[in-house]
């Protein structure tokens, strides 16, 4: 157990998380290190990351628990001194440690700083392994003997190695560390062990269960700004070159275990295509129906071709994983940071109202063109943010990313195969709705002028409370098959592509974006009111969604009508609220609906299975619902752990969904 937590043994995970986020833990940690481990502290503060890592491996207390696996994290010795833009939201190549002993990775000649540091990291890993070996018994001892010189042989040994790499990365300030395609990665060990009689199926399943429970450890530390946002995502299922759907016993087993364990973390992203068997979709819906918040579905039929068109190698594209929430990336080969910043589509509209001489706007088309001009300025700002990122030298990560070793180049200097930059986006739905409402109110019905609209949004509907109520009641066009809405949405999307497609990072990485973001609440907190009935500070529309819809088919059709080509594939999630009754009573029909949706071409889809009644009760009496899990942007979290604005938004969306769907 984390020793720092021992010092705060009365604090729960949420409280510890708050102390981490506030910086208090970091301050205490530095005080402690200066007093007790000054030599390590000096290395920790230096640029000599490799030696700092080695020293950490020498002195970090080995926390050997009674569990099946060795997995520990010590905040005191976390190498979290920022040396530049840090790497996170990625998945390492676990195969490197599964198929090799550590010692086989050494450079014979240290002909560069990178090679020297790389070897030092490996030395650190060996030191740590030997220390664990000395303090463990039986099978764990054997694992940590073999990890130095031999590849993994058995399923449980492979799980231990994955945990070891995962632990090292969290310990060294990498965040949102993904787990990759575990079904694909582990199947050969699983099948071999069954065939040889090493273990029975149920024993292997038990090991996998223990593994998942271990991964869930240190939840408070692993969580980003919100509890639950750990990035510990397991990708399951895939499509082969012949468009067959590939899955195996581990695919089923992992979904079953997530359903059984009812933990918000780790979570699953299930890749699907038009040939995904009903058995798999049925199990996925059963799991989703428990309210555990996963799996999220990712449509290979759409995603893979877009990756290939972007320039991803075909075989890599077939093997795609995702970063923490949903953004496609090539696990083990990519250090593309998929969420470097958020494009807020509402800002240009605000700026237009604040700065533009509205008498110059002669028509609706004029208005749209002017909006795009302001959007371009925002895009330039986004590009500046991305360009300014100065990535920290990271030989630790370089050990676990393909090709860095071969090329002798650190990840920060372009050692990996893929190093694009991804951004997310918010408020497109609000902007599209707002523009169409302006068209209706001003240019068609001539009820108001642009100056009126400016006044309304800048004064937060002061003296226009009636209008606010009417607009709030208006059905959203975004998320429907309204032709005008789709055309306007596409126009804006293509414009973003046009103005970002030529962008390159220092090492030639391209910029990609998507229509989902974690920031639909935070980015909206300081956003002006919008003429779609949204008040100042109210959350933006969540991803691709429409809470005023009375059916799910239309949102599937809408999402399928959008073009995710060029650089528009960085996560495009349909987010729907579903009453538990629906899944329970209409599962087979939901499966049929999903299958059509996959064929039509939605990009990704996640469901929040909640009832407003339960959420309201849980908000008022949290002690009665300690294990209530909900879906928040791209992860699952305990409802009780969420800040109040997230709870309120979920309740509001659930009520709206139930009202319109009934």
């Amino acid at each position: 157990m984390d020793r720092l937590k021992d010092n705060y043994s009365t604090l729960n995970d949420l409280e510890l998380h708050e102390k981490k986020v506030s910086g208090e833990l970091n301050y205490l940690k530095e005080q402690y290190l200066q007093s007790n481990y000054l030599d390590f502290y000096k290395l920790y503060k230096s640029d000599n990351i490799a030696n700092a890592f080695y020293r950490m491996c020498e002195i970090i207390p080995i926390n050997k628990s009674e569990d099946d696996f060795v997995y520990f994290f010590d905040y005191i010795f976390a190498l979290d001194y920022i040396r530049g833009y840090r790497y996170g939201n990625i998945t390492p190549n676990y195969k490197i440690i599964l198929e090799n002993g550590i010692s086989s990775l050494f450079y014979v000649e240290e002909d560069s700083r990178f090679c020297k540091d790389y070897n030092r990291i490996l030395q650190g890993l060996i030191v740590l392994s030997k220390r664990i070996y000395n303090q463990t018994d039986s099978i764990q001892k054997e694992w940590f003997r073999r990890i130095i010189n031999e590849p993994a042989e058995h399923f449980d040994e492979a799980l231990q190695r994955i945990l070891f790499v995962n632990q090292v990365l969290w310990q060294t300030d990498h965040f949102l560390v993904g787990l990759g395609s575990l079904d694909d990665l582990l199947i050969k060990y699983y099948e071999k062990d069954i065939k040889s009689g090493y273990m029975l199926k149920n024993q292997l399943k038990e090991k996998l269960k223990k593994f998942l429970l271990q991964i869930h450890n240190y939840y408070w530390f692993k969580s980003g700004m919100l509890m639950g946002d750990t990035g510990q995502i397991i990708v399951l299922g895939k499509t082969d070159e012949l468009n067959n759907y590939k899955y195996n016993e581990l695919t089923i087993m992992l979904i079953e275990l997530i359903k059984e364990l009812q933990l918000p973390d780790p979570k699953i992203l299930l890749r699907v295509n038009e040939n995904t068997p009903n058995e798999v979709l049925s199990l996925a819906l059963d799991t989703i129906g428990t309210g555990v918040g996963s799996p999220i579905l990712s449509n290979d039929k759409v995603v893979i071709p877009k990756l290939i068109k972007f320039g991803i190698n075909k075989l890599d594209a077939l093997d795609y994983g995702v970063s923490a929430c949903w953004e496609p990336l090539i696990s083990g080969k990519s250090v593309s940071l998929n969420n470097m910043t958020t494009l807020n589509f509402m800002r240009p509209l605000e700026n237009l109202f604040r700065r533009e001489k509205l008498s110059n706007v002669k028509s609706f088309n004029d208005l749209v063109e002017k909006y795009l001009i302001y959007l371009k300025r925002n895009l330039n700002a986004v590009k500046r943010v991305v360009k300014s990122a100065d990535f920290q030298y990271d030989p630790i990560l370089s050990v676990f990313i393909d090709k860095c070793r071969e090329r002798k180049i650190d990840v920060s200097q372009g050692g990996a195969d893929y190093f694009d930059a991804g951004i997310t986006s918010v408020a497109l739905g609000n902007v599209v709705n707002s523009l169409l409402i302006i068209k209706e109110l001003i240019y068609e019905k001539k009820l108001y002028s642009l100056t009126d609209v400016k006044k309304i949004v800048l004064t937060d509907y002061k003296n226009y409370e009636d209008l606010e109520k009417l607009l709030k009641d208006k059905k959203s066009k975004y998320g429907t098959m309204d032709t005008e809405c789709i055309e306007l949405t596409k126009k804006i999307l293509y414009y973003v592509t046009e103005n970002t497609k030529d962008f390159r990072t220092e090492y030639g990485g391209k910029l990609k974006y998507g229509l989902s973001a974690p920031t639909y609440i935070d980015a909206a907190k300081t956003a002006f009111a919008s003429i779609d009935g949204r008040r100042y500070g109210d959350p933006f529309i969540v991803h691709i969604s429409n809470e005023t819809a009375d059916n799910y088919m239309e949102i599937l059709q809408f999402a399928s009508s959008l073009d995710y080509g060029d650089n528009r594939f960085n996560g495009n999630v349909i987010d729907i609220m579903v009453n538990p009754y629906f899944i329970k009573h209409y599962k087979n029909k939901l499966i049929e609906m999903l299958k059509v949706g996959i064929d039509l071409g939605f990009f990704q889809l996640q469901m929040n299975v909640v009832s407003s009644e339960i959420l309201i009760r849980a908000k008022d009496m949290p002690e009665m619902y300690p294990n209530l899990i909900v879906r928040v942007w791209g992860f699952s979290a305990y409802f009780n752990d969420l800040p109040i604005e997230y709870k309120n938004l979920l309740i509001k969306r659930a009520i709206q969904n139930e009202r319109y769907m009934s």
Binding site: E440, L441, K445, L447, E465, D466, L467, K469, L470, L471, D473, K474, M481, D550, N551, Y552, M553, E554, Q557, Y581, F582, H585, Y586, K589, E592, M593, K595, V596, D599, L600, S662
Partner: protein, 277 residues
Amino acid sequence: MNYSLITNIQRMCFSDGPGLRTTIFMKGCTIHCPWCSNPENISIHKEKYFIKSKCVINSNSGKECKKCKYNEGLCTATGEYGYYKSTDELVEEIKKDKDFFSSSGGGVTFSGGEALIHVDYILPVMIKLKKENISIGFETALFVPLKNIKKIIKYTDFFYIDVKILEKNMCMKVLGGDIELYFDNLRYILKNAKNIIFRVPCNDEYTLSKENVEILLPFFKDNSSVPIEIFKTHNLAKNKYDSLSKVAMGIKCTDEVFCDFYSKLIEQGNMVERKEI
């Protein structure tokens, strides 16, 4: 004036037939059930409505629109139940979900009110939909001329047939329906239709009264090959009644009576499913 008015086109209906369906609610009914959950579909004519809760000027009092500046385009508190769509427009609307129908065995279900009043309007729609292999069903109380049924039965894949009050005098008194007409139509449908499901709206006071149950049980026993769905009537349509300045009777069904009826049907060998709202 065309009286084939529609009040709602409800997509993603999961309980109005097989697969994923779109249900078309037609305006006009030949009976008047006290528990009706679609009061806007009883009259065949357009009807003005006023939804008090949506009125920004007058939400705390008043039962009718008092006209304000928002009437010219933004107001959703007033309007009319019932609108007309040409048959081509209706076909195009239904076909929006064709992809969802074909894989799920779904399609369109005509309901209301009493959709079988409007067969002259619906028939050309059905013919066009059949060319696209879209499944078609009807929900009906069967209090319509037999000739109406004969016109559309060839194109109909299934009927949901309401079974409510089967005693002649009570049927006329409570529903305003001619039970002989009902039975004539039923005999024809049982002989000629592809698929039938009985539906029983259950409430303590009328359909599951002791007297009516004594008639229902042998009726279902005689027609045991036809599956039955039973559901409780409810008061969820109160807002719609309010919008029409009508009074919702709030006729309910207790669990005890509902479960007892269900058990009796099971005991006598019927295929019966309990549906929840």
